[in-house]
């Protein structure tokens, strides 16, 4: 099918790329198993005296593990809300012309571009005045600002890939709109929904500035907790690395679940 030359080039690109991609992550992983003495001492390629002390500290100290729980709660909440409200909107943008549709679409996108720094203070004041300060829902709602536009944008692309004749055929066959939408349309674009959910989860999970500004104790995210490792005696590298490794785990689980949806893409939806 493919000639050998092209195939081998692809292999080389992949091997070299993945090697370079994994190298810094490998370094983080080895550091998490090292003691601070070993990290700051002579450079070693793997931990000579592997220790789980860094992980033990995180799993037994409530200040640490509650950060993970908080981050997971607001991220999942954000992903569910974002995908749920973006689906009908993306459908509308894909299928209908309506007053100001292009302007609205672009306005949505511009909200991803708000420079966080100066908006932080107004954000703080706003969320405090409506009583959402330091709640999981508050952070989830704030993250909608950049996730909803993205979700609408990605879903719109996937929905436009489904021929409109399908909608019309379903209508002729006597399907009601809601039945068509939930039983025929959503399964067709489930690849797109998976990809969208992944991106929403990702952007909400890694965001630090906003989540940190809107929380103090009850909903404090893990990435803010990590600044605890910086103390007067310098940075606790091993603990920081272990916390960093643990921040990758939930994401790996999510991508593992959506991998087939990304892989199949929406070739499924081509009727």
């Amino acid at each position: 099918m493919k000639n050998k030359f092209r195939f081998s080039w692809g292999g080389v690109v992949i091997v070299v790329y993945f090697f370079l991609l994994m190298l810094p992550i490998y370094w983080l992983l080895t550091m998490s198993f090292k003691t601070n003495d070993e990290i700051l001492g002579k450079l070693s390629l793997w931990p000579h005296n592997p220790t789980l002390a860094n992980y033990r500290e995180i799993f037994t100290n409530k200040a640490w593990y509650s950060g993970y729980i908080n981050s997971i709660i607001y991220t999942v909440l954000n992903t569910i809300i974002a995908v749920t409200i973006a689906l009908p909107a993306a459908y509308a943008f894909s299928r209908y012309m309506f007053m100001g549709d292009n302007h609205l679409f672009f306005w949505l996108l511009t909200n991803r571009m708000a420079p966080a720094a100066v908006f932080l203070l107004p954000f703080f004041q706003l969320y405090q005045s409506v009583g959402l300060f330091d709640t999981h829902l508050g952070v989830a709602l704030a993250h909608l600002l950049f996730n909803v536009p993205l979700a609408v944008w990605i879903l719109e692309g996937f929905i436009s890939g489904v021929p409109k004749e399908l909608d019309e055929t379903a209508a002729i066959d006597g399907y009601s709109f809601s039945r068509f939408f939930f039983w025929i349309f959503l399964p067709l674009i489930r690849g797109g929904i998976g990809v969208t959910a992944f991106f929403c989860f990702m952007f909400s999970w890694v965001e630090l500035l906003m989540a940190r500004t809107l929380t103090t104790v009850n909903a404090k995210p893990i990435s803010a907790t990590m600044t605890r490792t910086v103390s007067a005696s310098g940075i606790d590298w091993g603990l920081l690395a272990a916390a960093g490794v643990l921040t990758i785990v939930p994401g790996v689980l999510v991508i593992y679940f959506v991998r087939n949806y990304i892989a199949k893409g929406f070739a499924l939806g081509r009727v």
Binding site: M22, D101, L144, T247, A267
Partner: protein, 288 residues
Amino acid sequence: MQKIQDHRAWLLVLPVVISVAFSAIIPLITVVNYSVQDILGPGQRVWVANEWFINTMRDKDLHSAFLRNLLFSLEVLLLEIPLGIAVALALPASGWKASLCLVLIALPLLIPWNVVGTIWQIFGRADIGLGGYFINNILGISYNYTLEARDAWITVVIMDVWHWTPLVALLCYAGLRAIPDAFYQAARIDGAKAWSIFWYIQLPKLRGVLLIAVLLRFMDSFMIYTEPFVLTGGGPGTATTFLSIYLTNIAIGQFDLGNGAAFSLIYFLFIQIFCFLFYTVILRAGRN
């Protein structure tokens, strides 16, 4: 695709508009409020009209931060987009290898941004970092990102490429999988070479996802803050002081809300204009 005109579609869009407007418009009004007044204390404010804007526009440091950020955005786009396409093309299309690759490639995207900065901060250090140690002691090139402006710049660019190429690759990969097999079959019957398949089938079909990729990468690289802040703190000197870092220095470091607000409005406007032009050009090019 032919669209039907129906203003009732607004009802489908309404939840999105309300949720985004809540977090977008109210803070924006507050920022506009700050940008035209001098706030001396609670209940004490003076109308200063466009003074902050004039101040900001004459700020030399701001101009250089702006150019620096523009150069940075262009560099990372030029590196990340072709690399992302190449990786997406080379990724296996199915099977367990494809699953493994997708899981691995997404890793950098799922690391919180301050951790990304930390990873490279450690990795690039000559004493405790693998990368810095390798360059200094094995390649024999003097490299120190905390002292040399050039090294700091290269490190930030490489960090961004490492961090964000997977996003471009994943988007392209999803786009490639969406091309129906019939296109490839037709190309095979015509005896098309790999290059012409890429140029006449794959690239045009990727136009949509590439538009997303370029816009996302431009916007985010133009607002980059956390990673270089952790890695270099904007230094050495001002070598990696990007716009957001400069803005935070003004607004939060010096608590100069007026200048900060005026600056952020100009900043916001610039990105909007750029993206609007880009978006329009791409849409036009698509129609022809």
